[in-house]
């Protein structure tokens, strides 16, 4: 702990966060794998040989080959093309949902303890109530009511994870709120909004980065689980969880239709975890 200082840890926090992603070999591996998936999600449809729902009626249930890298399913759809198309869905739904949760969680997590009083009380009472329901249960209840669709999956992820992000942000805010530099800014007569975003937010960023990465890995699981249970993305969309569910009865005849989407989920989740882990280790010193 350094002696009292009037300078907040600002500037280049973002840059340092980025650099610390490559701090250890394992986190580098994680970041690279996530990068490859991201690239596939971005340019996938341009490079895959087939449309995800295109049925090659003469090539049903083909094992992996040079022509069909991951084989074809029993409807004659190219599994590689579907897995790649599914990557885009995962980033849009799990990534988009997480981004929304991080945005909402950061805003409310910053504002609630700053404004204090009733505002803080009501916001976090609501969040505690949402957290009384395990994430999948909450997601199923909402999707079961409003009906499954891509936008409702995105919405559900945001709802499920906003409270957790807000909690993390709030705890950091409470710990820096009393620091000298915040008091100094206040004495200078700076506005509340300025103080929150310029003085407090930079301190929150490291913890927020780690939490976002972790939330993203859970969100991938949640999207896949919802797809598997048949209440998330609906057929014939190339959702990874849905693909596993569709393949479960044909494990003996076409094991590749199950193996590749399942491997894609695992690989991406492990990679995100590695990246989050590295991020956490590298930033640990900065959060205090």
């Amino acid at each position: 702990m350094t002696p009292a200082t009037a300078t907040p840890p600002r500037a280049r926090t973002g840059w340092r966060t980025l650099r610390s992603l490559f701090a250890t070999p394992t986190s580098t591996v994680g970041v690279v794998i996530v990068g490859v998936f991201l690239l596939l999600a971005a340019i996938g449809p341009l490079v895959v040989p087939y449309q995800p729902n295109e049925q090659l009626l003469t090539a049903r249930s083909q094992p992996p080959s040079l022509e069909h890298w991951f084989g074809t399913d029993r409807l004659g759809r190219d599994v590689f093309s579907r897995v790649v198309a599914g990557a885009r869905d995962i980033f849009l739904l799990a990534g988009g949902g997480t981004a929304l949760a991080v945005l909402l969680g950061t805003l409310t997590g910053l504002m609630a303890p700053t404004l204090g009083g009733w505002w803080d009380e009501i916001t976090f009472r609501l969040y505690d109530t949402l957290l009384a329901l395990p994430a999948l249960l909450l997601a199923l209840l909402i999707l079961g009511t409003i009906g499954p669709s891509r936008s409702s999956v995105l919405f559900v992820i945001a709802i499920a994870y906003t409270p957790i992000v807000a909690r993390v942000v709030r705890s950091v805010v409470l710990s820096v709120k009393t620091r000298d530099w915040v008091a100094a800014a206040r004495l200078q007569g700076e506005s509340l909004v300025w103080i929150v975003f310029r003085e407090i937010l930079p301190s929150v960023l490291p913890a927020l980065a780690v939490e976002s990465a972790l939330r993203f890995s859970y969100a991938i699981f949640l999207v896949a689980s919802l797809g598997f249970l048949g209440v998330g993305v609906q057929p014939p969309a190339p959702d990874w969880g849905l693909m596993v569910a569709e393949a479960r009865n044909y494990v003996f005849t076409t094991p590749w239709t199950l193996a590749f989407p399942a491997a894609a989920i695992s690989l991406l989740v492990i990679a995100v975890n590695l990246a989050a882990d590295g991020l956490g280790r590298a930033l640990q010193g900065e959060t205090r």
Partner: protein
């Protein structure tokens, strides 16, 4: 201690009250008419009006909520849209099945996870630690529906040791149900194992660096004694909380696992209810699960306070 307990119970009641309001609000967001969902597309206006009257759908929201909550508190969750039968007996039977599975899972997961965590911490940064952390990372990446399907292939279809379909007869004893429960419990164990082991490792490793450990060692106390009498007693305290937190994961995990194995628990019933848009059934299942989750948290908090007096005095 009594005051602490009373405060915790009051907090539990508040949490459950707010959660019930949340559940009721969500299930009333439905665009469309529950009466129509119940009766189907062919229902005439007269029948619809009658159903709306019977369901109390014409009353304002607060009135419906209070009525619903009042009945739920008396153990009356209404009748299912799908079967037309009373919901409460069905939910309690399925809840019992899920609790059995959860109990078996905890029985396997908790000792194993603590053992792995302690072993990893004692060999920090050496091969047992690396092995455990790499394995648990791989397990973290495997969704339970994939692990479940693989285990079914291996042990049910491949080796034929256990049935592939985990359906158990109503009223079966624990021993009768056990063979069907083994694979689902192992699958659910994998969900929690890595998390508990990892946090146990961190907790034990942190405790080992404390000055009193060195003092005790320098005094000539044997390594095993320091570990048993001092380090583990302190380090395993947070594990109580960790287990309670991972209970939420266990509930999520069991929903998926029960569906993979077709196990007749609450999770299987929930997807059934969602499939048929059976709102009263969905409400009852969610309330039951939330109550169990909240009770688990209460038990963990109280256990922690009993083990560590500093908490309840604070």
């Amino acid at each position: 201690m009594t005051r602490y307990l009373l405060r915790r119970i009051a907090f539990l009641a508040l949490t459950l009250l707010l959660a019930s309001l949340l559940v009721f609000t969500i299930t009333n967001l439905l665009p469309g008419d529950p009466a129509r969902i119940m009766l189907g597309r062919e229902a005439g206006p007269a029948a619809l009006a009658e159903a709306r009257e019977a369901l109390g759908l014409d009353d304002p929201f607060p009135v419906r909520y209070v009525t619903w909550l009042g009945q739920a508190l008396q153990g009356d969750f209404g009748t299912s849209f799908t079967t037309g039968e009373a919901i409460a007996p069905l939910v309690f039977e399925r809840l019992g099945n899920s609790m059995r599975l959860a109990g078996l899972t905890l029985l396997i997961a908790v000792p194993l996870a603590i053992l792995l965590g302690v072993v990893a911490a004692l060999h920090a940064n050496r091969w047992p630690d690396t092995l455990i952390s790499v394995t648990s990372l791989a397990v973290v990446g495997l969704p339970e529906f994939v692990t479940g399907l693989i285990l079914i292939q291996l042990f049910a279809f491949g080796l034929g040791w256990v049935p592939a379909n985990a359906s158990i007869a109503p009223g079966a004893t624990f021993a009768e149900a056990l063979p069907a429960m083994v694979l689902p419990a192992i699958t659910a164990t994998l969900v929690m194992l890595a998390y508990i082991a990892r946090l146990t490792r961190a907790s034990v490793a942190a405790e080992l660096t404390r000055p009193y450990v060195r003092t005790a060692r320098l005094k000539g106390t044997s390594h095993g004694t320091v570990l048993r009498r001092h380090v583990l007693r302190n380090a395993l305290l947070p594990t109580v909380t960790i287990i309670a937190i991972s209970f939420g994961w266990l509930i999520s995990g069991l929903i998926v696992v029960e569906n993979v194995f077709n196990y007749p628990g609450l999770g299987r019933l929930l997807t059934f209810a969602i499939d048929r848009r059976d709102l009263p059934l969905m409400q009852a299942i969610t309330l039951a699960a939330v109550t169990v989750f909240a009770l688990a948290n209460l038990v963990a908090d109280v256990t922690y306070a009993i083990l560590d007096p500093r908490i309840r005095l604070a």
